[in-house]
């Protein structure tokens, strides 16, 4: 069953480096590899500065990739493309942004904001058809038709995010990148937007890349989750596996850091608190990038970059603890402990 899933996107060793002042280079995304299947929600989590937003934008070709490939239904998104070919990609991939205040043009009516994609791609043959499409979209996201004539400032954050969703849906995309789409909203409004996104996914068979730092919300909405740290992918697994059997020490620490809204559970569990902050991506640590904060770091971690491997079925990890060549040290330490 699982093997019959159709790959919508294959991300292969994708890199995005930004040149900085002097000769330094900021390696925001430094070689990530994973697949996104058709109809699933792939959650991408990590702390600020881990490169998750850059990854999302590079996948959509809002940034040119420095190296690597993004294959969308077998065809590379990057590389030389005619304007016509690009347009085709742009129509099938859309984005919902974090800040519903900054991502809507304040001088355009909601109607024109939503119809922009329809106009660019020539999806409506007449003014009437354009209006009908917009009205349908407004209804789909739970707004009224009369809202179309208003301006963004007249709406609340949650309503604006609905407008952003309507705009993304306007060109009938297959794949939507939601970059922290609910982070700026209050909890009760977050739930509204998340439920709406789920309903739309069921109705239209959409595929989502859901980027967020809120791991509990990501776990709720995603089928599979990828955890990023400092430009690298630390772990990819189904959201259940990731929660119940996290392999990477960083994932374990991240899960343990999230407060659970139940005082009895919260106060009885043991937490792993990792020290310090994320190092700078301009000069990342050698070997495994997490080693400077990792409670289980071994000597080899500073020397060799861990390999990205499928440790168990559908569960990928980059950590020497799961490599027989290197984990002797760890085993020995465990033996001493016991």
């Amino acid at each position: 069953m699982i093997d019959q899933r159709e790959k919508l996107l294959e991300i292969k060793d994708l890199k995005k480096h930004f040149p900085m002042a002097g000769k330094t280079v900021l390696k925001a995304v430094d070689g990530i590899t994973f697949d996104i299947y058709k109809g699933e929600t792939f959650g991408l989590v990590g702390e600020s500065g881990c490169g998750k937003s850059t990854a999302g934008r590079t996948i959509m070709r809002l940034y040119e990739a420095t190296e690597g490939e993004v294959d969308y239904q077998g065809e590379n998104v990057h590389g030389k493309k005619s304007a016509k070919e690009l347009k085709k990609f742009n129509r099938s991939m859309q984005m919902i942004f974090q800040d519903p205040y900054a991502s809507l043009n304040p001088r355009m009516t909601v109607k024109d904001i939503i119809a922009e994609g329809i106009d660019i791609h020539g999806l409506a043959k007449s003014k009437q058809e354009r209006l009908n499409l917009v009205n349908q979209l407004l209804e789909t996201v739970g707004l009224n038709q009369e809202h179309g004539n208003r301006y963004p400032h007249e709406f609340s954050g949650g309503q604006r995010q609905r407008i952003g969703i309507a705009r993304a849906l306007a060109v009938n995309p297959e794949f939507i990148v939601a970059d922290e789409a609910i982070s700026a909203l209050d909890v009760s409004i977050q739930a509204q937007v998340v439920n709406l996104m789920r309903e739309l996914q069921e109705e239209r068979g959409l595929t989502y890349l859901f980027i967020a730092h809120d791991l509990s919300m990501v776990k709720h909405i995603s089928d599979r989750v990828g955890v990023m740290y400092l430009g690298n992918m630390a772990e990819v697994a189904t959201s259940d596996d990731l929660y119940h059997e996290p392999l990477h020490p960083y994932t374990q620490a991240l899960l343990s850091a999230i407060p659970i809204s139940d005082p009895e559970v919260e106060r009885s569990r043991e937490r792993i608190i990792i020290e310090g902050d994320v190092p700078s991506p301009i000069n990342p640590p050698s070997g495994c990038r997490f080693r400077t904060r990792c409670p289980l770091a071994m000597d080899v971690c500073a020397k060799v970059e861990p390999e990205w491997q499928e440790y168990t079925k559908d569960h990928w990890v980059a950590c020497h603890l799961y490599n027989d060549k290197y984990n002797e040290e760890h085993k020995a330490r465990q033996a001493v402990k016991n």
């Binding site: 702390e47 600020s48 609340s156 949650g158 309503q159 209050d186 909890v187 009760s188 409004i189 977050q190 739930a191 509204q192 998340v194 439920n195 789920r198 730092h213 791991l215 509990s216 919300m217 776990k219 709720h220 909405i221 259940d240 929660y243 620490a253 991240l254 899960l255 343990s256 850091a257 999230i258 407060p259 659970i260 809204s261 139940d262 005082p263 009895e264 559970v265 919260e266 106060r267 937490r271 608190i273 990792i274 020290e275 902050d277 994320v278």
Partner: protein
């Protein structure tokens, strides 16, 4: 007996009303807030944006802009004195010494053109007559206490050289410099990553236990509440809708708003298909209903009385207060008589 208990509280807020002038009219952002904080207690104030939780905390510190806002009613008793009656000069002696505050944005709360050390020493110079050398030593000591590595170096650095978590640690160091009785923390970890949030919360707990200080923690994150709080105060549209100890609040929430809020967040240890939602949004200050419950138009359990009768905050079980007409005790005195008459 009750009087005696009253005296022991660090902070007592009675019937507080704070309003803002909008188009020449006073609109209240905080209405009828009554609460108390006992020594060493951690009180969490939760609610969504616009519920008045920050306005309330700024009222305590008397930090709201005088030009367009006003505490129109009520008293804030701290150390036996009413803070609302104090002049700015008198408040300066309280702020930073007996009550201190940390803010959400450690970026903007620290002055970028002064070193960490000079901002730490400012509070010491203002309230004590320490010498420069003493203040520096105390500063280094404080930085050590909040877990800053290489404090002798960091004390001469500028805020932009430090990460968000480190800046929040500096803010905490400044706020505990004079062993205040009460620390008000307004969303102290909202701008931080979860792993750093865990560090900061741990630090706050450790300091609170060591220094015997009470904390009023303002947050929208129920996970943080579950971790930190002894007592929880839930606010909605400027009013307290529920208060309870932390375990009761999560196991037996009484107010429909609290219930909806708890069920609208996904939990890591649970699998849910659909999240509960609260329809609509918080009414704006200008459109606040004058009569009836302020949550009525979003409430799944609303009935006729909810738009006609304004509920009062009342005890619904031991140590647990709510403001909802589902509980008879919350009918205001006069209309409860009317209601009985109707029933008869």
């Amino acid at each position: 007996m009750p009087q005696e208990q009253h005296d022991q509280n660090v902070l007592d807020i009675n019937n507080l009303h704070t309003g803002f002038l909008i188009d020449g009219e006073l609109h209240h952002a905080v209405v009828d807030v009554n609460l108390s904080v006992k020594p060493k207690e951690v009180v969490c104030v939760v609610g969504e944006s616009g519920c008045g939780k920050s306005v309330m905390s700024l009222s305590i510190m008397n930090l709201l802009p005088k030009i367009n806002s006003k505490i129109s009613k009520g008293e804030i008793i701290f150390n036996g004195e009413d803070l609302t009656q104090k002049t700015d000069e008198e408040m300066n002696k309280v702020r930073g010494k007996d009550i201190s505050m940390i803010f959400q944005e450690p970026m903007t709360a620290l002055n970028p053109v002064f070193t960490v050390g000079s901002q730490l020493q400012e509070v010491l110079f203002n309230h004590t007559d320490m010498s420069k050398q003493e203040a520096r030593e105390r500063g280094i000591d404080l930085l050590k206490q909040v877990g800053i590595p290489r404090p002798e170096k960091i004390i001469d650095e500028y805020p932009h050289q430090l990460s968000g978590g480190m800046r929040q640690r500096i803010m905490i160091a400044i706020s505990i410099a004079l062993n205040p009785k009460l620390l008000i923390a307004d969303e102290p970890t909202t701008a931080l990553d979860v792993t750093v949030q865990a560090q900061i919360l741990e630090l706050m707990k450790a300091i609170q236990e060591k220094e015997d200080m009470a904390i009023m923690l303002i947050t929208h994150d129920l996970g943080v509440v579950a971790e930190m709080a002894d007592k929880v105060i839930v606010m909605y549209a400027g009013k307290i809708v529920e208060t309870a100890n932390v375990v009761d609040l999560f196991t037996e929430p009484k107010h429909p708003y609290t219930k909806s809020m708890i069920s609208s967040i996904p939990r890591m240890d649970e699998q849910k298909n659909k999240l509960n939602t609260i329809d609509g949004i918080v009414p704006s200050l200008k459109n606040m209903p004058h009569v009836g419950c302020r949550f009525a138009d979003r409430c799944p359990k609303a009935f006729d009385d909810c738009t006609k009768i304004t509920p009062q905050l009342a005890k619904v079980s031991d140590d647990h207060e709510a403001r909802c007409l589902l509980y008879d005790a919350c009918y205001p005195d006069t209309s409860s008589i009317e209601k009985e008459e109707v029933n008869q």
